[in-house]
């Protein structure tokens, strides 16, 4: 199942991006190649365009309307700019810049709007010229590459590395709690519930203790304690697994309890609401508790019913791998 979800996320993600880009290109959303006449203005008389390693401060007055269908511009807009050798022009975007230029500017992802200028003769304070936008293509595919693939591959490792310290801390604390008999005590108290939820796990198995600690941490909103304890629980549950690589009923039930997590103190939500100036940041606690409790009950019923389905049962039988 995770196979199909993974495939769907990747294929749909890249497919939608590609489709969006191709339709942008065919509609020429970013006005690639369209010529716009303008006047390049200088503060004094100039007689030659900039040479190597030189740039000229100027302003660009665009006095025409952009081609039909692309919206209208005010009669004249004047933007500050810098002219470089070869006719490269950096136009600086400000509040009065019309949306159409702004859109291309945002897609180009530079600090300025990059255009190429051509002129007949370069002489005077005001030089008539024709500009074209630096072409913008495949905005979405580029976003997929940079903001999707490259960034998230890095994020994944950073997340895992960031987990090492907390992981070590909570696994160490957990070991003390285990040796001191605390976990066993907690497990004994909750035994009537846990033996029903996880009938395949012996009541005094270390997996029970770890699962109880994880679920308690989750309820209290202690996320950085919950993950290490949950991973510990999975490790213990895997010791009871008769078929390596396949999830047991207890694992799936535990996971679903985790994902439907009953929240008693949604601390981060309250913090954001307070920061946003809510008159009563904590007013949602009751609703969150009821919503997550009902969700957890329904999720547990669902997971228990699903586990009975023959298709899922069959996967537990010992088989030779093909």
């Amino acid at each position: 199942m995770l196979n199909y979800i993974w495939l769907a996320l990747l294929v749909i993600g890249i497919g939608v991006a590609l489709y969006g880009d191709v339709s942008d290109i065919s509609a020429n959303k970013y006005h690639n190649g369209e010529e716009i006449s303008c006047i390049i203005q200088f503060s004094q008389h100039v007689s030659s365009p900039p040479t190597q390693l030189q740039k000229m401060q100027c302003a660009v007055a665009i006095a025409t309307q952009l081609p039909a269908g692309s919206g209208t511009l005010p009669d004249t807009i004047i933007q500050k700019a810098e002219l470089f050798p070869g006719g490269t022009l950096h136009i600086f975007i400000d509040e009065q810049t019309p949306a159409i230029l702004r859109e291309v500017f945002e897609a180009q992802k530079n600090e300025f709007l990059l255009v190429h200028a051509k002129w007949e003769s370069f002489n005077g304070r005001e030089i008539p010229a024709v500009i074209t936008f630096d072409p913008v293509r495949f905005v979405r595919i580029n976003a997929v590459t940079n903001d999707g693939i490259i960034k998230y591959a890095k994020t994944a490792v950073e997340l895992a590395i960031g987990l090492i310290g907390l992981m070590a801390l909570w696994l160490g604390i957990m070991k003390i709690a285990e040796q001191a008999g605390l976990v066993a005590m907690l497990a004994a108290v909750l035994r009537p519930v846990t033996t029903r939820l996880f009938p395949d796990v012996p009541a005094d198995h270390p997996a029970m203790g770890a699962m109880i600690m994880n679920i308690s941490a989750n309820m209290l909103g202690l996320n950085n304690a919950a993950t290490p304890l949950g991973l510990k629980a999975m490790e213990e549950l895997n010791r009871l697994n008769k078929k390596a690589g396949t999830a047991t009923d207890a694992m799936v039930t535990f996971l679903v309890i985790n994902t439907s997590n009953l929240q008693i103190i949604p601390a981060s939500v309250i913090a954001i609401r307070a920061a946003a100036g809510s008159s009563n940041p904590a007013e949602i606690i009751g609703t969150v508790i009821v919503a997550s409790a009902l969700t957890m009950v329904i999720a547990i019923i669902t997971v228990k019913l699903m586990a009975k389905l023959p298709g899922y049962r069959k996967q537990l039988l010992p088989t030779e791998e093909s």
């Binding site: 801390l169 070991k175 003390i176 001191a180 999830a247 679903v256 609703t287 997550s292 009902l294």
Partner: protein, 181 residues
């Protein structure tokens, strides 16, 4: 009354972790556990578990990243908008409902953005708050938990997890409309 409730929650979330550490270590010491040695012994596993989940995290996060960056998320919200309107879910809360199971930091970002745009005390603001509190990053949990014990045949976990996500959203919508609507 409300003020004191908020400050109680504040104090509790500030104290929870130090109190837990203090209590367990002190109790261990009373029970004559060699706390230092035992702690180190347990902590040793931390590194291996964290490293073991890297491939699974990369797989799931990259797929989610591609899905979001390419604009598939917006397309999906447009496609299911008729359904959500029918159940009384404002379209402004749809991005939250979709991102919640995929990305924790993404959901936090969407929540802050929505609340800042529509106000924390608006129905929309309250609804995304409830969604944030009652949902969970299902796919991250699935990838990390199963990854840590190298399980690739997840059986009914994904289906049940998605059911739980949908139920959590429906509950949030229904209860928020009921209580604050």
């Amino acid at each position: 009354m409300i003020e004191s409730l908020i400050s109680a929650i504040d104090v509790l979330s500030i104290l929870a972790i130090p109190a837990l550490v203090f209590f367990i270590v002190a109790y261990g010491a009373i029970k004559k556990v060699k706390i230092y040695e035992v702690f180190v012994e347990g902590a040793k596993e931390g590194f291996h578990v964290a490293v073991r989940i890297i491939p699974y995290l990369v797989a799931i996060l990259v797929a989610i990243g591609v899905f979001r960056a390419g604009g598939a998320m917006e397309l999906l919200s447009r496609l299911i908008a008729p359904v959500t309107n029918f159940i009384g879910m404002p379209p402004e809360t749809l991005p939250m409902a979709l991102i919640r199971p995929l990305s924790g930091s993404g959901a936090l970002g969407v929540m802050s953005e929505t609340i800042n745009t529509y106000g924390a005390d608006s129905l929309i603001g309250r609804m995304v708050s409830v969604m944030m509190g009652s949902g969970e990053t299902t796919f991250y949990v699935l990838a990390v938990y199963f990854g840590s014990v190298s399980i690739s045949k997840t059986r009914h976990a994904v289906a049940a997890g998605i059911v739980a996500d949908i139920v959590a959203i429906l509950m949030s919508v229904w209860l928020t409309n009921l209580i604050f609507g």
